[in-house]
Symmetry: C2
Subunit: 243 residues, 2 copies
DNA sequence: GTCTATAACCGGATAGAC
DNA sequence: GTCTATCCGGTTATAGAC
């Protein structure tokens, strides 16, 4: 039940010389290698431990469960994503472009793990799992991710109405979750369908946000925002989900 | 790999006197009881077998895996849902009302299983699992479910444009999936948040469908439909997902 | 051929010694 | 921080009963 420090491994322990950190890294690397090669299910903890040159029990000393290894991967691709987005967003002003860049980059950086990304989503969908992206334990990464969407908006030419503004980053994050869900199930070559989905919907979303504040859509916007306010309670911390 | 007959157990074998059918029913009932009481994870196959008065191996004779027990439950609530919707839709003409009825009823009939519905979604989200609602194996139930949404439209006062019509049932089904995902994570008392979500969004969806064909939104509609056509290939059988 | 039971196997997870 | 030994439960193999 105490899952406070789940994301400690998200940090890149580059400079650290602690032996533990190096062992942990070895285990994680072995796990990712094996999963890429054989898939998640066929990668046993025993095999991971052996490949990393440690005992089974030792692997569990560093990672509470097999699924927690996945969360480490989650944090890993998240960092990669952030890093990759930086330069690409640099000169770009168009909201639509910025949005598309972030989403396409998300897919690009996750692509090597497509084969076993399903497992991530599998555990992600379970409300009881601390790995699920709505859980308290996932809050750090989730918040960083939502912050990225806030950055998309801020650095762009987009004008957002006052009522919508506080909700938009989280809405875009949810949209990204939907895209990822599609991607996980996408079997088209090079995930071209997901690319298409992103192209089309990012344009759509951008148009939608632009016209949302205009008179004809005012009442619709109002009811959407009303709903969001009701679902995400005063204390802004959590997403729509309670745990 | 051969998952042809997964849904055989969806039929209600009411009249059948076959001993096997009764044994199967006993196992399923025991499993659902135990899961309701202790949750999915803590319900062991050994306990299910014992409660049903059969041996462990025998339980596996009837259900290929623990997860397949869940799929039986899935088929069960699906039947319940269909049955419950019938009379409620009887006199109703309003599209908005019909939509809300179907969704609320879905929640009502699933409510007893809320505690362990997460597991359903967990396996459902895994693209590799035959239990996932997009898989070929799930096609029968999925198609029935989509057909229900077609019925909502047909029996209503709604006028749908020619371009949108063939896509609408599946779109509404996808919308329902989203609602269910929310519900799975909903911890509010009596899932009042999910109720609220349904109230608000069903109204919204209904408005949206109504105005979708109007001139100002014509280009938007066109691009959405273009996307859907691209994503759901000519052979209409499957959803957007390939397996 | 339909059904049932027993005895393994395998891999995730834990306990406790060093 | 690392190991070995062990548990536990999903799953499978297999043999026999109706």
């Amino acid at each position: 039940m105490t899952d406070e420090l789940l994301y400690a491994n998200t940090k890149t322990n580059a400079g650290t010389t602690g032996k533990g950190e190096r062992t942990r890294a070895r285990i994680l690397e072995a796990a990712l290698d094996l999963c890429r090669e054989h898939g998640y299910e066929k990668t046993t903890m025993r095999a991971v431990a052996k490949a990393a040159g440690v005992s089974l029990g030792n692997a569990y000393y560093y990672f509470r469960s097999k699924e927690h290894l996945i969360q480490a991967f989650y944090g890993q691709t998240h960092s990669d994503h952030l890093e990759a987005c930086g330069p690409l967003l640099e000169g770009e002003q168009s909201f639509r472009q910025r949005l598309a860049i972030v989403l396409q980059t998300k897919i690009d950086t996750s692509m090597p793990y497509h084969r076993f990304a399903g497992v991530l989503f599998k555990t992600a969908a379970d409300p009881a799992s601390p790995l699920n992206p709505f859980s308290d334990a996932s809050a750090p990464v989730r918040d960083e991710s939502i912050a990225l969407f806030a950055r998309i908006i801020e650095g762009s030419d987009l004008r957002v109405g006052k009522a919508l503004r506080p909700h938009l980053p989280k809405l875009l994050w949810t949209y990204q979750m939907g895209v990822i869900l599609f991607w996980v199930h996408d079997r088209s070559p090079d995930c071209s369908r997901t690319r298409l989905l992103i192209d089309t919907t990012s344009k759509l979303v951008s148009q939608l946000v632009r016209v949302a504040g205009l008179p004809p859509l005012r009442p619709v916007l109002r009811s959407v925002i009303g709903l969001l306010d009701d679902l995400a309670p005063p204390d802004d911390k959590a997403s729509g989900t309670r745990r």
